[in-house]
């Protein structure tokens, strides 16, 4: 197999990239994902999950059953922020760090 063959189409990650992550000690799809970005692109591993899991299993001399499924997260399809925000009455629970900052009042340095 040509080492430069793409396995993750979205992020254009190759067999060689996967091998490099595995050689660093990565064992799961998620480990390899964090090092290479495979499966982090637009399709969110929907296309490459099986191919890459099998590659990792082969490289680690394990069975496919030993390679756990990567964490799949919402939203399950790419959704525009405008769509996600519409219809959400609740405000935001993101607090600004500026609001959290408590400037000194001269008592301490």
């Amino acid at each position: 197999m040509d080492k430069s063959t793409i396995v993750c189409r979205c992020e254009e990650i190759t067999v060689e990239d996967i091998a490099s992550a595995v050689s660093q000690g990565a064992e799961t799809f998620d480990d390899v994902k964090r090092l290479t970005r495979c499966g982090m692109g637009l399709c969110q591993a929907k296309t490459c999950r099986i191919v890459i899991s099998e590659l990792i299993a082969e490289m680690k001399a394990k069975s496919a059953a030993d390679i756990s499924v990567p964490r799949l997260r919402m939203p399950l399809r790419p959704v525009p922020i405008g769509v996600l925000a519409a219809n959400t009455a609740s405000g935001s629970f993101v607090r600004s760090t500026l609001a959290e900052a408590e400037p000194d009042e001269g008592q301490e340095k």
């Binding site: 099986i50 191919v51 499924v69 964490r71 799949l72 997260r73 919402m74 399950l76 399809r77 769509v83």
Partner: protein, 352 residues
């Protein structure tokens, strides 16, 4: 929005589940991201066989129409062109038709999201003209266009050989089916002999070295295990990948349903018990999502999941429902254990 049973997926299993629920007087809503019901049956032109009695002799797309038709007398709600994108903290589902997020609360779910095609990788598999075998079927039977004039199929599952035959029948020149292992993967003898009638060769122990072309598939380079070192150049304008199928997992991941690996059911899939109920009690699993199987298996597991959803709503079972389930289970056993005994065994062991 509110419903009693929310069915994710409007394919054969979702439709079968909906029938069992709706015909017993409970509310059902079906969500599907496509603009039509029927799922992957919509592009299937072959006669579905085996299939339980009321559906005998129907072609795939006709089976889809029949399953849709018999729901018409019930007040089933449909949300087509809506994608299931996640769950709210209170357990209600979020679906989107592209403008906003609809919030649907349901007493229970039937997840019938089907299977996806697994890939195979070789240099050039990202080129336009390389597509999944399922994509080719959509093009010829649903879109009524040619994926190309001359093609090659990589992989030899039942599905691949079936579609290869269909491509041949519409006048496409399929130069061969390439199978890297030493035997044809298809298990259905009728499908294999139907392909053989066409004269399309199945090239065993043969691999794709590379696909190349300028902006589009033009050439495939093959190497055969029988003739080491010899590579053959073929001029084609499309290539179909058959890597088998696997249950779609994303919905289960976000619903916190634990997964288990069963090779014969397509790899990882949600754990479920004899009620086709996942470890998360309000979630039932049906169709290919409950293990890759034949169309009969898809319809029957859908029906069984549907009745179990009714039991769930009514907090217990009833004799009539029990005997109905038994009929479906017997049928499922009869078909799976003769067609694909390994699938039936894996299903039994999966249910524990």
């Amino acid at each position: 929005m509110e419903t009693e049973v929310l069915i994710l997926g409007g394919g054969p299993s979702g439709l079968a589940a909906a029938y069992e629920v709706a015909s017993r007087g409970h509310g059902v809503m079906i969500v599907d991201e496509a603009w039509a019901l029927g799922g992957q049956l919509r592009q299937q032109t072959q006669i579905i066989d085996p299939i339980p009695a009321p559906f005998t002799g129907l072609r795939g797309f006709q089976l889809a129409e029949t399953l849709v038709e018999r729901l018409k007398e019930f007040p089933v709600e449909y949300l087509l062109k809506h994608e299931f994108i996640g769950l709210f903290a209170d357990g209600s589902a979020g679906v989107s038709g592209g403008e906003k997020i609809l919030r649907i609360s349901a007493k229970c779910f039937v997840v019938a999201t089907g299977a996806a095609e697994s890939a195979r990788h070789f240099p050039g598999w990202t080129l336009p003209g390389v597509m999944t075998i399922g994509a080719a079927q959509i093009l010829i039977n649903r879109e009524r266009i040619y994926p190309g004039k001359t093609g090659l199929v990589v992989g030899s599952s039942d599905m691949a050989l079936e579609i290869t035959r269909q491509m041949h029948d519409v006048g496409i020149n399929v130069i061969g089916v390439v199978e890297p292992t030493s035997q044809i993967l298809a298990k259905d003898g009728k499908i294999v002999s139907s392909l053989q009638e066409t004269g399309i060769p199945v090239l065993l122990q043969t691999e794709v070295v590379a696909v190349s072309g300028s902006g589009k598939v033009e050439t495939v380079l093959l190497s055969s295990g029988n003739k080491p070192g010899v590579e053959t150049d073929c001029q084609v304008d499309f290539v179909c990948i058959d890597g088998g199928r696997h249950p779609i997992l994303e919905p289960f991941s976000i619903m916190n349903c634990p997964l288990r690996y069963e090779k014969e059911l397509g790899g990882w899939l949600p754990s479920y018990n004899g009620k086709l109920q996942s470890t998360n009690s309000g979630i039932f699993v049906a169709g290919q999502a409950a293990g890759v199987t034949c169309q009969a298996g898809v319809v029957l597991t859908g029906a069984i999941a549907g009745i179990n959803a009714v039991d769930y709503l009514e907090n217990g079972t009833a004799e009539a429902r029990e005997s109905c389930k038994q009929v479906y289970w017997d049928e499922l056993k009869r078909i799976e254990s003769t067609q694909t005994p390994e699938v039936w065994q894996a299903r039994m062991s999966h249910m524990g």
